[in-house]
């Protein structure tokens, strides 16, 4: 367990550019890149008043449940795309390889076909960009050191004090 992933700035800049292009081309409300354990990595768009952490957790769980359905019905190729159609907003969720998910939230006035087309294009670009993610190396050791542990303990103490 405890896989450690270090996300350096450069591939995240690339991710941001791809998300930004998708956001512009589709007129989406918000686009997000999430990992499969439900953590938000990057987003573009209007997020005012939206709890993005909760949104990321729900998107990842949504896709996890669908992949489990695929396994149960013996869908070997798995389901790669999820679409939720609402009254005002639609949500399209797509796999980005085995480890990441792209979610696009867009108004119902935007054609779904257009969003699907540009999402597919963006997934291909993101697959390249995320290759730079999984290399923890020595920088993580420098970050998560004894000083970090001690500071974290006192921050937890401060946050939780007088709460019990």
């Amino acid at each position: 367990m405890t896989g450690v992933f270090f996300l350096p700035t450069q591939p995240l800049d690339e991710v941001e550019q791809h998300l930004s292009r998708l956001y512009d081309k589709t007129g989406a409300t918000c686009v997000l890149l999430i990992n499969i354990s439900g953590q938000l990595l990057s987003y573009q768009g209007s997020a005012e008043g939206v709890d993005l952490a909760s949104l990321a957790a729900l998107v990842a769980s949504d896709m996890a449940a669908v992949l489990e359905i695929a396994r149960l019905v013996d869908e070997r190729d798995q389901f790669k795309l999820l679409l939720h159609e609402g009254e005002n907003h639609n949500v399209l969720i797509s796999n980005v390889g085995p480890g990441f998910l792209l979610a696009v939230i867009f108004k119902t006035s935007v054609p779904i076909g257009l969003v699907r087309l540009f999402t597919r294009e963006t997934v291909t670009q993101l697959l390249e960009a995320v290759k730079g993610f999984e290399a923890p190396g020595s920088r993580v050791a420098q970050i998560v050191d004894a000083e970090f542990t001690a500071s974290l303990a006192s921050e937890l103490e401060r946050a939780f004090s007088d709460r019990t």
Binding site: S61, A64, V140, L152, E155, F160
Partner: protein, 195 residues
Amino acid sequence: MFINWKLREINLKIVYYGPALSGKTTNLEYIHSKLRPELRGELISLKTREDRTIFFDFLQLEVGEIKGLKPKFNLYTVPGQVVYAASRKLVLQGADGVVFVADSQWHRLKDNMECMHSLDDNLRQLGYDPTHVPFIIQYNKRDLPNKAPIAVLEARLGRNGVPYIESVATRGVGVFDTLKMIINAVVNKVQQEIG
């Protein structure tokens, strides 16, 4: 653990696992109710009409910056009811640490043990070695008259060297201590792995 250098964040995923009605959701509800709003997000609960967890509960909390990075903790519960067993594995995916919330009452001993087995099975299916997962056992409901002694619970559920804590989650006793313990266990494990 995810370190996002651009957003200056460290993300940890902690999963509260345990049998039905052992107090997993109560742990998160207590944390949510007591933490200052600026330190926590919404408490998301995917529940049935009978108010039972069908998929998971989710709560994100954060503490002050450390070395220029903001630690964020993503807390999840799994559904305890056996009928929702399929959902538990999904929630465990990518977890950095697990809190097993046991119901201390005598008549729940078997449920606790079966649930512990299901946890090990699910971890193995996800490719993890259950003995290497940062892990804390929380013996909950220590205020009830029909509680089993800790020695009995430890003999049936305990693992070599795995810390445990006694709690009364409805009153918040042991809730924050449990969280601190599992966070420390995860950080120590990361240090071992990369050190």
